[in-house]
Subunit: 362 residues, 4 copies
Amino acid sequence: MSHNTFGKLFRMTSWGESHGPALGVVVDGCPPALPMSEDLIQPWLDRRRPGSSRHVSPRQEPDRVKILSGVFEDDRTGGPVTTGAPISLLIENQDARSKDYDAIRDKWRPGHADYTYDAKYGLRDYRGGGRSSARETAARVAAGAVARQVLGPDIRIRGALIQIGDLAIDRGSWSDEEIDRNPFFSPDAGSVARWEERLDQLRREGSSTGAVVEVVASGVPAGWGEPVYGKLDAELAGAMMSIPAAKGVEVGAGFEAAGLRGENAADEMRAGEDGPVFLSNRNGGVLGGISTGQDIVLRLAIKPTSSIRIERRTLDRDFNETTIETRGRHDPCVGIRAVPVAEAMMALVLADQYLRHRGQVG
Amino acid sequence: MSHNTFGKLFRMTSWGESHGPALGVVVDGCPPALPMSEDLIQPWLDRRRPGSSRHVSPRQEPDRVKILSGVFEDDRTGGPVTTGAPISLLIENQDARSKDYDAIRDKWRPGHADYTYDAKYGLRDYRGGGRSSARETAARVAAGAVARQVLGPDIRIRGALIQIGDLAIDRGSWSDEEIDRNPFFSPDAGSVARWEERLDQLRREGSSTGAVVEVVASGVPAGWGEPVYGKLDAELAGAMMSIPAAKGVEVGAGFEAAGLRGENAADEMRAGEDGPVFLSNRNGGVLGGISTGQDIVLRLAIKPTSSIRIERRTLDRDFNETTIETRGRHDPCVGIRAVPVAEAMMALVLADQYLRHRGQVG
Amino acid sequence: MSHNTFGKLFRMTSWGESHGPALGVVVDGCPPALPMSEDLIQPWLDRRRPGSSRHVSPRQEPDRVKILSGVFEDDRTGGPVTTGAPISLLIENQDARSKDYDAIRDKWRPGHADYTYDAKYGLRDYRGGGRSSARETAARVAAGAVARQVLGPDIRIRGALIQIGDLAIDRGSWSDEEIDRNPFFSPDAGSVARWEERLDQLRREGSSTGAVVEVVASGVPAGWGEPVYGKLDAELAGAMMSIPAAKGVEVGAGFEAAGLRGENAADEMRAGEDGPVFLSNRNGGVLGGISTGQDIVLRLAIKPTSSIRIERRTLDRDFNETTIETRGRHDPCVGIRAVPVAEAMMALVLADQYLRHRGQVG
Amino acid sequence: MSHNTFGKLFRMTSWGESHGPALGVVVDGCPPALPMSEDLIQPWLDRRRPGSSRHVSPRQEPDRVKILSGVFEDDRTGGPVTTGAPISLLIENQDARSKDYDAIRDKWRPGHADYTYDAKYGLRDYRGGGRSSARETAARVAAGAVARQVLGPDIRIRGALIQIGDLAIDRGSWSDEEIDRNPFFSPDAGSVARWEERLDQLRREGSSTGAVVEVVASGVPAGWGEPVYGKLDAELAGAMMSIPAAKGVEVGAGFEAAGLRGENAADEMRAGEDGPVFLSNRNGGVLGGISTGQDIVLRLAIKPTSSIRIERRTLDRDFNETTIETRGRHDPCVGIRAVPVAEAMMALVLADQYLRHRGQVG
């Protein structure tokens, strides 16, 4: 995990700015002979696509993925499969309105990476946030679709939005089916109307809100992960915190674990038909950095969109005090579209750990 | 960050089991000509050492560090300095009572990595948790002391315990000086008596408790970190979650950010004498994965010690149902000794990012 | 250096098959604010381009490079510069005649990677060698052009062909200017007619020949490189042997060093105006893996093109014995076009070691 | 491969100076449940040990290896096996006569890394070459012994010395059994007397000589290796060139391939009982960076020992011109002891590529 590459054996390298001609990702180390086509990747991108409801950015990007390498006909089935070579995926930018950004060319938007990019590199591509734009996450979702093929159908990764602002879902009403029925990836039908109202109000006020995402991976066998520095939960934490606007991540009981007594924190075990059965999952499916076979459960806190219409105090590049109101097309709650991104990062970490496990242990 | 190596340019590789003859760490990529001696490392180890109060494990380990390589006389000053070669640090184990562990040889302790190590490797060194023991963190603290030399005196890293069980400190009473005056690394003198009482009670009951650690790095210049996958906060999150018993990590406002509105989340900027002055630090000193020059602030949730005297249900290695009470010498609250470990991980991440920044940007 | 990524701090990841829609490379870790444009890269690609003389493959590929990311206007000069973000370079394939390859779909060409790719992956993209095609080296040359910008104008990298078959140049007639005047990159004008005659004859006979490439880097300061496993010459050797058809690499005196006595092998030193002056360069500019400040000199042996019209015995994919004559458009001496590729690999290694040196030592 | 770490999945990190208290290596990523003990490692170290004949350094080092971690009793057999945790190996230095080196404290020995270490780091541990000493190769041999356990008994790695100075063996007299019967690892009994005479003469004259090592790995299955930058032969070349005093490496026909015609360079294939049979091995067992199943054959050129008694011109650290005669205890032909080291590097590369292949392809 460094610069723009993620993973060790199953690796992806993303590139592209928000308002450049295209963005893309090179997926390397993929096992051969896995079915692979644009049709297998596109549905995941469509879930993350802007413009899909009034609650996300109205930027119109079809986000059509093209496979440029690494896929060839299977000589048995004739269908397209991975060859083991790097898979280059390209997504063209279409609705990039760079003129929108002239106003921010010389100002640092609070909460954004404008100042820090300038501090680091001495210059920045200011159009739409350039490389720091959440648009980069399309590359993650595309690579995540490849990772899902590596993991196979027995491993299911499911993200959901469980809180917008201070409005949390009712966990008792959780329905996996509901998640795809509303524009929020909410598993609780009862939350939808309240969240719509809240977002409509924030949009009118020119403000934004934070959110909490939960991601669960089911079907991961016991034994994946590494001890000490390559712990499965450590890599998941790093992966999730690399998502734009992420401010916190927790696994299993998470921060609540701080308040527990020992007898309530350690998951007891009984004998099941196919191995151990755990009587609880306070550890979120990971012990000592290695999967237990239970669901892997984590939550991710996303801060409010920093691009808001409310005037904020800031500096220009010459260190003069000024103010800024960010117009342009922004998600009032970036947490919504963070759901498919967080799923993709879970898939990428698991695929990489799977191959590393297979490498060391066979 | 993989297996037992942490870092990219400033790297450390740790080794050793809880009850083996020794444990150690090889620090590689260290800049040359930095003052280095056992005396510079030992004080940091002493802060983490077991047996220092009744609230931590009574195991008696002097934890004396020996430098085996990478340090030589400076031909100008004659004092010992780093040479740029790998620095091998060795700590001998002394008070390892392996007999204590015969009882757990064939049972999986709930909340520990016993089952997952068996699931992954097919065998495990059961003596004191072997490689999964928190004793490994001595290597981190020793390497962290080297990292502090790389960072120099202008960067200060300070950890504190801010919550034990449900007992949080009063942040209004925060005193940096207080942190070293009590056995809990508490910055709030008022919390000490309450925490002592709580821990004494838990120890009597054979139970344990979780905690929350806060770590702050001051003096980090703006511009360190990497965009996208090597984000400073992403690497910090991974580093912190690699600490044994960690279940959550958050930066700046953290999970609270989910409940904020945009205008309260983005830190405004005004002109100061030496550059920007931020009017708040909701982002914890990191924007877009790159340091802002503000304090880097993170918090880490630690679960309760899983080794408790209270009987728990579990399985043996033949999948028979049984129960276990863990005796031996354990910390009732591993969060206490996690404070110097979290500081060390902060130092390791910063030293590595510093060298990487210098490599790319000069 | 793994899979399709080369380098540690200055990294490139290449992708693309010989007969796919395009090939490309993502250059990551590049310092910011370096002048960068397609015009700066194209001339290096033109040197490697097929179809430039009758002695190389007649495949007609304009090999026009497109920059898709990582370059933006400098706010001072307005000219395009690197931003520190990944630079994605794309080259479209145009003259890919996949039909030429139906004959080899089910046969393994001797000397090629056909059998080994099948053995490893269970399938292969047989069109033009797929990923194993020397066409991949266009990506190296493009990335090498970026590396040259990192190194700056004071470091000159110059490759030459010094032997074709058993016909070596006369080193006494060496002229740097001559290298670009003939289609062989020969520094010896006297060799050109002999080489033309040899290649014309081989082409008539449907055969091919090996060659030796020499690459020299001047202006590299003393101190670059790493001791032990990241030695400058070790990385150069690995880089050169990763070039298709490479079978040997040597630095300085190389294999001749085996026959020397100690007093003739170690380069003596005298005092010069700007530091040490070496009285010879038997070590090729590297001692203990670190540059001495002298020219870095290496040679690379390239085997004959395996694609020849002469009938050869082989197997088909069902392990039936058969024969094969490879038609299609091939270089009779791949060593010629290996010259700009070897230069590029030298540039990539040096740029990476430069940044790593700057990272560790400042 | 960077700094002092070698390998990607099967990794080793070495540390220690020639005249420090000890040297060692941490082997990480080793598969579990492999038999492992000091007795399995020691014989390989004994082959490399100084003082074993009058033709190598008379320094008396028992080179006893100690296992400090990563090995535990197998609960089935009770015998010691790897656990999957890092294996820390320690070798104490005993016969370090640092006083011998006061004379070279302020002078740069020609052909050694003295000047380049000073140029890079600004200081160096001058005692016996410090980190640049060939003594570091003991760590490689110890790690290589672990790698051999990973590879198992079906893969045989055998090095030999095939040339000393200009005296080459008669390949027609090759006998594997002979290699261990003489102090030169010569496979040709007829060469032994001539080599003894040559080395005795060189020693009397205070000079030294170069040599050529050949290493062969048999039993490697087809399919190991990676295309493009992680090619098996590219990694072997890098590994071999990282051995002190190496100046060239070639695979299969090597530099001779430059003089071949295509029909003599590509190894033809016929059908055998268990797969393809190659009619020659000009490619040294590697095609396109991937193993063919044939013997992997490479040769390594080693320069003469730079430490000689013959006076040489050099500089001191203040750039004054001076001369030096290196006394102390040195090998007149470091190529001899390079044989077990080159075997170890072959084992390390193969073990790593094996695990990586298993990771990607299963």
